[in-house]
Structures are given as structure tokens and as C-alpha cells.
Symmetry: C2
DNA sequence: ATTTAAATGCAATTATGTTGCTTTAGTTGT
DNA sequence: ACAACTAAAGCAACATAATTGCATTTAAAT
């Protein structure tokens, strides 16, 4: 998922600031989602905490990032697929949250269709699998 | 899901205190999951905040309650099905989080089986649907 | 009833998220 | 390139959520 921060900002008619570029750069570094605290640690020297919150919120609203909550209620961010718009997020893939390293992966697995009971109208469905990721299962073998 | 708090405590060899009983009573009142802040509001006069946290943690560890995170990272609690044990939670049903009233329902819909990519070993899978619940869709019609 | 161990409550601390306002920095038009 | 305008960043203060250590209380065991 190689993106050009400057282009992304233009596409969504967002003002080009170095803070916004930095946030996108940082998140785009890895296909694995990055957590709010990690971002804060990495960017805390360059970007104010409040600004970071605001940038992340805007990006989520615009459909540039999607936010995945982990089991601790911590927000994690990953770049959205190009199909996402401000009105509608299409991040209907399965997430994998490693219980060992706590990394969150966006898997190439679609969330299965399922029928809701009478009266319940689902707009989006969110699926997260918890377990051991590829990196950690390798490490376990080595020990 | 009618439970007897006193029995539940015995089964898990937990000391019987009035705070623990009250928490279980309160959560068992409704099939809908109750949020931490709601619980705190309801029980705040009788039970210290810290005690509430500790009781909820113990109940989760023991497999008496299961915790569902909503989109805001707020913890919600519901009684576990009898199949749950301390070692293994079996709450593999779909949750429904109403975007209008923010209630969380435990649906009688099983989480579909799905295949993980090479190297990823899922222990549990968590699915939450977001949308409008039965109660809210009725209200919308009325207006 | 006495003892013992665990649970509760309280105070203090830390982490997390939000709001209002001032300052700074992009963008637009000349 | 410069001035003027507007949006974003930074800062301080505040609000909320969660955790820790310790003194006190209470349930259970003898």
C-alpha cells in the first residue's frame, strides 16, 4: 500500500502541512496498523498531542484511514483501501490482532455475509481474529 | 439468561460479598450488554469505582462475564453463556452495536468459520455488526 | 468467638481524550 | 513576491478513565 501523502491530501482537499504529511508517512510505513500510543511516541517530538488527535480524526472522517479498536480499547490506524470515501468505509476485511506482539494486520479475507435477526439492520460488520501472527509463531518455533 | 449470583460465586470459588452480588444482579437484569459508565452510574453510590473495576476484571478472567468493546473503546459487559470457563471464552456469537442508542446485543448468530492466511493461528474470532437495532428502527418508523 | 486472608474503600497518581484560545503557517489574489 | 485571509498547530487547562498502594472492613475457617 504505497501512497503519496501529498496527493492524498490534495484528493481530499486538505491543506498540506508538514504534520499531516508526517502522520501519513508514518502510518504508510507498514501494512500493519499502528496504535495511537505508538504514533504518539514516534511523533510526539514533532507534533503536538492534540494536533495528532485532530489529524487522525480528520483522516478517519475523510476515509483516508480506518480505525481498529483492539481488545484494550486502544485505537489503531491503517491506510484505507482506495475504495473508501468520506461517506462510506469499505474496510470490510478481517483484522488479525496478535495476542503476543499485539500487532494488528489487515487480512486479505473478506468479512462473510451473515443474516441479521428481524428488526436489526447492519450497516457495517467488523471482524477481528485474535491469536498468534506469522512473525510470532516463527519465533515460538525457534525457542 | 436467568442466573443466581450467589451460585455463580460459589461455582467459581469467589468470596460472597454484597458488592459482587450487586454487580452480577445489575448485569443480569438485561440481555443487552451494559457499559462500564452505565454500571458506574447505577452502582456508584453503593460500590467504589475501584472495586467495580476489580470485580469486573475478576469476572472476566473467570469467564463469568464477557467484555465487548464498542467503537469508542468503551467496555461493555454481558453474562457469558454457560459454556465459558476461565481458560476459554466461548462467546463466539455476533454482537450488534446500535449506532443510534449504542446498546450492544448478543445475537443468536454464530460467528462464521473462516480460513486464516498461512502462519496466522486464530484462537478466537470477534464479530460486531453496527447499525440500527430493533427498538430504534421501530421508533424511526413512528416519527 | 477469634483468627486469618481477602476484598473494599480511600487517596493519590498516571494515562487518555477534549475544549478554548492564541499563534503560526498555508493558500489565494493581486 | 507580497499582503490578507483562513485554517491548522500549539499551548494550557480541564475532563474522564484507569491503576496502585495502603489502611480498614468483612467473609470464611477453626
Amino acid at each position: 500500500m504505497k501512497i503519496n501523502p501529498v496527493d492524498v491530501l490534495k484528493e481530499h482537499s486538505l491543506k498540506h502541512t508538514k504534520q499531516r504529511v508526517r502522520v501519513l508517512e508514518e502510518i504508510a510505513l507498514d501494512t500493519v496498523a499502528i496504535s495511537q500510543p505508538e504514533l504518539e511516541k514516534k511523533l510526539g517530538k514533532e507534533i503536538d498531542r492534540v494536533t495528532l488527535y485532530r489529524i487522525l480524526n480528520i483522516y478517519e472522517d475523510k476515509g483516508i484511514l480506518h480505525r481498529i479498536m483492539d481488545m484494550n480499547g486502544t485505537a489503531n490506524y491503517a491506510i484505507c483501501s482506495t475504495a473508501c470515501t468520506a461517506d462510506h468505509h469499505h474496510d470490510e476485511h478481517v483484522h488479525f490482532n496478535c495476542t503476543n506482539c499485539s500487532r494488528i494486520y489487515c487480512l486479505d479475507v473478506k468479512v462473510p455475509k451473515m443474516t441479521m435477526p428481524e428488526g436489526f439492520k447492519a450497516a457495517t460488520i467488523n471482524t477481528t481474529a485474535y491469536g498468534i501472527c506469522e512473525k510470532c509463531s516463527l519465533q515460538v518455533k525457534e525457542n
